[in-house]
Symmetry: C2
Subunit: 84 residues, 2 copies
Amino acid sequence: MANTVIPILPLAPVERIVRKAGADRVSEDASIELAKVLEAYGLEVSREAISLAKHAKRATVKEEDIRLAYKRLKEQIEDSNKSV
Amino acid sequence: MANTVIPILPLAPVERIVRKAGADRVSEDASIELAKVLEAYGLEVSREAISLAKHAKRATVKEEDIRLAYKRLKEQIEDSNKSV
């Protein structure tokens, strides 16, 4: 996965997140992998936020859309696990 | 939440993620909110990755640590929901 696609998020700030969590050393591949994980998660939250904005008849995605999207995604995970 | 802390991730690429998901317009507050959501999630994955690297007696966080951390975090969410 690491060498197939260039992630949208720049590696330096992603590495900074790993260091903020307490890491002394971080391989470049680790930062690339985390950048991809965060991009995928960001796309998921964004798609939900866009559908919430459309529902509110707005063309602009706002802070409240991201917040509710994030909340709803967590609930969806809970629901899907309940049905397992 | 939007005005309290400056997020680690730069806003331009975070906004690009929302646009990649299909948004025409994105408010600045929405990008800030998503940057914070991604930073919080990134810290969570990183903490787990650091503990996996330590377990493997390594000082460097590697790609495999991020991958396994991400997988384990999803499993933890599943387990915690099962016990509800």
